[in-house]
């Protein structure tokens, strides 16, 4: 009957790049011959047709059809699809004339497009979920056609409540708080404007800027500006999400999704005019029970992150009552129900609504306690593995209330934050700094767990029962053939089988997590990255000097040179003076590197050139080489051996770094001007060449690469501090060397190679960077 009713029809579908939409398209194409589909797809960069081919037809849901048709797949299947560019988020659906023609020719329109993310910004949710159906109705009116419109909604439009939720219009429920959907639309749009404005208030911008500085340090103005703007945008998104959550809960909905869907149903009811509208309300859609294959799933959806986090041992508690019902419905049942509704046609009830709920809770409930037990057993039997190849043991849940879980998570989050703040203030480098970065990772995990609890907690606690009277009536009306082909009877689900044999294996597979210890000891990540940076394909290796090649800085070299010609009491005075001004110098250096160098190098005023040159040779052995990192020097040489050009960029003075010349093709360093001082050449303490610092380094290596015809995507850069970010970001292969805390966390997040180079073990250590006394 179903097949017969649909044969030869033209069906328009929205939201086909989504989970439900993909399954729907596949099922229709496979089961109903002679059916033509018109898919409304946002064109994106590639255009609607390309998206359909790449994002829908390439999905593994179509494997069955591909096998069936072999090489003819493109014509046999692709030929039955017309892709049109459109967007339910804009008025008129963004259709061109062709698109309008296609839509106008359809017998059935299935609207399954939605933004299902529970924390999407309120205005986005409103535009898509609330106004989407309204716009479809309006467009159909405009075209003067009245196909059967099947709108996909959600059971949760009933709101957070206990007890029965019947298949009636949302405003027919006694618990519905009546609000005008048009007012909600206006205020959501205004909320965007207000939030944007609020994010630009000076105090707020200052706060973003401070956070950017805290994260990146002295990375230079452009980098900080980019980060600040990124933080602002993220703040706006967070605020809009929060606004949605708040508005939803004020009206008794678990989240903005249910809230906007609910008002969307109401708005459609109001604006449908003479359109024949059927609404299908699924509960939580999860992986397929049987069609196209058991366990088929697309995307990483609501419950999956929670399940994976649990399996990885990150989520130790989740709120919920063991007796509560988790209303889950496999995607293939939802698809079958939609197809059955479409085939049946519009059958309004007494209230002139045609609503079908597809859920399991009221007839075949999956209890939360059972789900948790099944998951625990399953993960105990099939553990995930950590990076050291140890199986992860999952914890037994004690079903605490949401408040307690949140409190615990908040506490953990706070503790980690404090520890992190302390660490960030310590002048740590290398391995210790990486510990800070791992703390940051832990904090993010805690934050994410917190997010899950906030978002999904409401669902786990939801105790509504969605009645399925109309669904089961529809089921009863089917003949045996249809029942066999289009099963949507939730009573047939065997939960233990579904959870352990179908859903969990599929989620774990889709989650790309480690389900077995790695068999062979393959290269570690660092080894692989190291191999990449030394690949002969690379063209350029750029090195910073201080703390990258040597554990020294401009202050120590100056102290050495200055103390070279001091004796006795003068030496002591010099040491005391230098130590006293240390903190100020450090602060100046942190604020602006160029200013610091300008200020500091004035100390070389009147230093005789020939003497400095002679002393610099000694400085090389006594300070530079002594404090050098042999592994770093070996790395420079390895780059040269691999045929890469090597470049040193440093704020140090030329006479200090000149002895390093044989290592590098070029050195960009500071240079001092000279003048005549009582008949001999002396330095004037002013830089003639200001070395690039911060963002100027980006410019400088870009210029360098252009000059030597090198591709920066094929370049490697080594640096130790967040202030070198512009340089690191400019190249294809950044390497953080002995990174300080900020860079360590950035490098970790972005998957950069981190090297810990050290001074020669056992080598001489100087307490103070002073030159040996000259022989009298």
């Amino acid at each position: 009957m179903i097949v017969e009713n649909l044969r030869g029809k033209r069906v328009a579908i929205t939201g086909t790049t989504g989970f439900l939409g993909t399954a729907l398209v596949e099922r229709l194409l496979r089961t109903v011959p002679d059916l033509h589909l018109v898919l409304l797809v946002r064109p994106g960069r590639r255009g609607a047709e390309q998206r359909v081919r790449r994002e829908i037809l390439k999905n593994d849901a179509f494997n069955r059809l591909r096998e069936q048709h072999g090489d003819d797949f493109d014509t046999a299947v692709g030929g039955r699809i017309t892709a049109i560019a459109g967007d339910v988020g804009v008025d008129g659906l963004g259709l061109d004339d062709d698109g309008r023609r296609e839509i106008a020719s359809c017998d059935i329109v299935i609207h399954s497009a939605a933004t299902v993310s529970f924390d999407s910004p309120i205005d986005l949710a409103v535009e898509v979920n609330l106004l989407g159906p309204v716009r479809i109705a309006a467009t159909l009116h405009e075209l003067g056609v009245s196909p059967h419109l099947v709108a996909v909604s959600t059971c949760y439009v009933a709101g957070s409540r206990r007890g029965e939720a019947p298949e009636v219009a949302v405003d027919a429920s006694p618990f519905f708080v009546d609000v005008d959907w048009r007012t909600e639309v206006d205020s959501a749009r205004r909320c965007r404007i207000d939030t944007e404005a609020s994010s630009r208030e000076p105090d707020r911008l200052r706060e973003f800027r401070q956070r950017a500085v805290a994260e990146l340090g002295a990375a230079g103005t452009p980098a900080l500006a980019a980060k600040t703007e990124q933080l602002r945008t993220r703040w706006v998104v967070d605020q809009m999400g929060e606004a949605g959550r708040a508005r939803a809960s004020s009206l008794g909905f678990p989240d903005a999704y249910a809230y906007t869907k609910s008002l969307g149903e109401k708005a459609l009811q109001e604006t449908k005019g003479d359109l024949r509208v059927s609404v299908v309300r699924p509960s939580i859609i999860e992986s397929a029970m049987a069609e196209p294959v058991p366990g088929w799933i697309r995307g990483f959806r609501m419950a999956e992150p929670v399940i994976i986090s649990y399996g990885r041992g990150l989520l130790k508690q989740f709120p919920g009552v063991p007796e509560g019902t988790v209303d889950v419905i496999p995607v293939d049942m939802v698809v079958a129900a939609i197809i059955a509704v479409a085939a049946r046609g519009h059958e309004p009830d007494d209230d002139d609504t045609d609503i079908v709920q597809v859920a399991s809770g009221s007839v075949n409930p999956l209890k939360y306690g059972m789900l948790v037990d099944l998951a625990q057993d399953w993960f105990t039997e099939h553990p995930l593995y950590d990076e050291k190849d140890q199986p992860i043991a999952v914890s037994a849940w004690s079903f605490p209330g949401r408040g307690r879980v949140q409190r615990q998570l908040k506490q953990a989050q706070y503790t980690i934050e404090v520890a992190e703040k302390v660490l960030h203030r310590l002048p740590l480098r290398g391995r210790q700094a990486e510990f800070g970065a791992s703390l940051e990772e832990r904090r993010e995990l805690a934050e994410r767990a917190m997010g899950y609890v906030e978002l999904y907690g409401a669902y786990a606690e939801c105790e509504a029962e969605y009645s399925l009277t109309r669904l089961l009536t529809l089921w009863d009306s089917l003949d045996d053939a249809d029942r066999a082909e289009f099963c949507f009877d939730p009573r047939v689900i065997e939960w233990p089988h579904y959870v352990t044999q179908v859903h969990l294996p599929s989620v774990v597979k889709a989650g790309r997590v480690k389900t077995a210890p790695s068999k062979t000891k393959t290269q570690t990540r660092s080894e692989r990255l190291r191999g990449q940076v030394l690949d002969p394909q690379r063209q350029l290796a750029v090195f910073d000097l201080e703390n990258t090649l040597i554990a020294s800085n401009v202050v120590t070299s100056h102290a050495w040179l200055a103390s070279r010609n001091l004796t006795g009491a003068d030496r002591l005075r010099f040491v005391v003076k230098s130590l006293a001004e240390g903190p100020n110098l450090l602060a100046l250096d942190r604020r602006d590197r160029s200013d610091f160098l300008r200020y500091y190098y004035r100390r070389f005023e009147n230093a005789p050139v020939h003497q400095i040159e002679a002393d610099a040779a000694e400085l090389f052995s006594d300070l530079i080489l002594t404090k050098s990192f042999p592994a770093a020097i070996r790395r420079v040489r390895a780059h040269r051996a691999a045929g890469h050009r090597t470049l040193l960029i440093t704020g140090a003075l030329d006479f200090v770094v000149n002895p390093l010349k044989p290592l590098f093709d070029d050195i960009i360093s500071a240079e001092l001007g000279t003048q005549d001082g009582d008949g001999r050449l002396v330095y004037n303490g002013k830089m003639t060449d200001v070395p690039p610092t911060g963002e100027a380094r980006h410019r400088s290596i870009t210029d360098y690469a252009r000059l030597h015809d090198l591709n920066l995507r094929e370049a490697v850069a080594y640096a130790d501090s967040a202030s070198d970010l512009p340089m690191l970001e400019a190249v294809g292969f950044p390497v953080a060397v002995n990174p300080e805390t900020k860079l360590a966390s950035i490098a970790r997040k972005r998957g950069w190679l981190i090297e810990n180079f050290d001074k020669a073990p056992g080598g001489p250590r100087k307490l103070l960077p002073l030159a040996p006394r000259r022989n009298p």
Binding site: S621, T626, P630, R634, P659, P662, K759, P761, G763, N775
Partner: protein, 562 residues
């Protein structure tokens, strides 16, 4: 403790035999020095002192099958070293004129002297080199010689620092010559500074310092601490560079030098002598001055004097000092410990001085070295044990890295024999040293890379030589550091490895007691935490109840194995 049976004291208080023409007085010791001695260990033998880097171990050796080789006691030094030097310069050996007759006003004179690697440890002031150079310069001044260059003949060793040069030649010489660039370190990588003199009949290129080649007279000042030093090796090696050295500093040559301490059985020396022929035939005039010192390394009194005594003869003061020293060393940080050991200056005394033609001089010098160091030993042993001290020729004022540990044990100490090796073929060498994975970043940069790259790949000398030597030897960066800083040449760690090639081929296994496990394994040796463990491990190779010989060195001794 029983009084062991010691062999008869040598009847004549041997003195350094100097040139026959001169009668030079030596100090009259209170008691005639006793010659070297082989102790058979019995149940009553006290624990034996093993050098162990910057520290010591006391080890009980298995009785009835162990023996200990003790060096001879220090021979008396010359009473008037300066007088002896002057006399030697006036009365040359072999076919050479008195120095005075070789000097003339407009001549080019070059004085080359042994570098920081000799003697070990460095000696107290005045250094022998200072005495000789001052004597030579006095004569040169009398003759009105203006063009004098004084060169530290360091081949591919690191450049000496100002302080080290001052210690070797004295402040007076340093201040008179260094500021004008007339006293300097040899630079074997100076393209202008090296000259190809010719080739030996074996096709070996002889390339040495241009200044030496162009000089009317080259005077080479030696301190012959061991029998390997001096002879034609002075000029042909000390003033040479990689191009020349590679002909004898290689695995094949070192494997044919059995040992390199015995010139007549040493292919290393044969090659140097061939090169000497080329130098001689090129018309170069070389005036060789060689000196020997006694083995008064740790002093007759003072904090380390017990190291020069046989353990059963320690008095209560020696024992107390040793215990206090052990306790103190244990509490000292590693760097402080190293500093304090490196600051030790040996109270060596000159026992002889020879001057004149190279071969004639060297024959006599070697005899004098043997007089102090040679200890007759009967038969080889299954297991040879040795305690490696804190110093070797290449870590003066520096760090003894694992590669140097290998070189000191398998190169120098193993080769301290004449006749046959102390340990039988396939036997086991057990050496005691901390073998820390520590390197001096300025002195040994290529060693660090050698350790991290080459040894991580292979420890086979031939493979190392063929696969890596050229790359390190011709490396720009190492060359730069050798020439401008104070780094050993890039190829130097390879020579260290080749030095031990003969031992590696000869031995069945090498075990290091008390060494850093990872570093020892990297060297291709087996680590053991105690001597007992090491002996257990050794029995896997040489069978149960092996014979054991301990080389009680330093003070230096050389085994004359029959």
């Amino acid at each position: 403790m029983t009084e062991p049976t010691t062999p008869e004291q040598s009847s004549t208080p041997e003195t350094g035999a100097t040139q026959p023409a001169i009668q030079t007085a030596t100090k009259k010791p209170k008691r005639a020095p006793r010659p070297g001695f082989v102790l058979d260990v019995d149940r009553n033998t006290p624990p034996i002192v093993f050098h162990h880097g910057e520290g010591f171990r006391l080890e009980k050796l298995p009785p009835e099958r162990s023996r200990v080789l003790y060096p001879a006691e220090p021979l008396p030094g010359l009473v008037d070293p300066d007088g002896a030097i002057r006399a030697a310069l006036e009365n040359p050996l072999g076919d050479q004129k008195p120095l005075r007759d070789l000097l003339f006003a407009d001549m080019k004179l070059t004085i080359a002297f042994d570098d920081i690697s000799l003697p070990l440890p460095p000696m107290r002031k005045p250094d022998i080199r200072q005495r000789i150079i001052e004597a030579v310069l006095d004569l040169a001044a009398e003759a009105g010689v203006d063009d004098v260059h004084i060169i530290a003949a360091l081949a591919l060793h690191r450049r000496m620092t100002e302080d080290e040069l001052r210690h070797a030649v004295g402040d007076r010489v340093y201040d008179a010559f260094a500021p004008h660039g007339a006293l300097y370190n040899h630079d074997a990588e100076d393209p202008e500074g090296m000259t190809l003199v010719g080739e030996t009949r074996h096709g070996e290129e002889v390339v040495i310092s241009t200044r030496a080649v162009e000089s009317d007279l080259v005077i080479y000042v030696n301190i012959n601490l061991v029998s390997m030093d001096g002879g034609w090796k002075s000029t042909a090696t000390g003033l040479a560079g990689y191009q020349g050295l590679r002909h004898h500093h290689n695995v094949e040559t070192m494997r044919k030098s059995k040992s390199f301490m015995d010139r007549h059985a040493s292919e290393l020396h044969s090659s140097n002598w061939r090169m000497g022929d080329v130098l001689k035939n090129s018309g170069m005039n070389i005036f060789q001055i060689e000196t020997t010192v006694n083995n008064n390394t740790f002093g007759h009194d003072g904090p380390l004097s017990m190291l020069q005594k046989r353990e059963w003869e320690w008095n209560s003061r020696d024992r107390a000092t040793f215990l206090a020293m052990q306790a103190g060393l244990k509490r000292m940080p590693a760097r402080a410990r190293r500093r304090s050991f490196q600051s030790w200056l040996a109270p060596y005394e000159m026992t002889s001085v020879q001057a004149g033609e190279v071969d004639a001089v060297h024959e006599l010098t070697t005899a004098n070295v043997f007089k102090q160091q040679l200890v007759p030993v009967e038969g080889q042993t299954d297991v040879l044990t040795m305690g490696l001290p804190y110093i070797c020729p290449y870590n003066v004022n520096s760090i003894m890295n694992p590669i140097l540990v290998m070189c000191l044990g398998l190169g120098y100490f193993f080769n301290m024999y004449r006749g046959k090796p102390l340990v039988r073929e396939g036997g086991v060498l057990i050496m005691s040293h901390p073998t820390a994975r520590e390197f001096h970043p300025v002195h040994h940069p290529s060693y660090i890379d050698f350790f991290e790259q080459v040894l991580a790949d292979t420890t086979d000398p031939i493979e190392i030589q063929t696969k890596y030597e050229k790359q390190y030897a011709e490396d720009e960066w190492y060359r730069h550091l050798y020439r401008t800083s104070h780094a050993y040449h890039g190829v130097h760690p390879f020579y260290m490895w080749y030095w031990g090639a003969h031992a590696l081929e000869h031995l069945g296994q090498v075990i290091v007691v008390g060494g850093d496990t990872k570093a020892v394994r990297r060297l291709g040796f087996r680590p053991a935490s105690t001597l007992q463990d090491a002996l257990e491990m050794a029995s896997d190779v040489v069978g149960p109840q092996p014979t054991i010989t301990h080389l009680h060195n330093p003070p230096i001794l050389m085994a004359d194995v029959t």
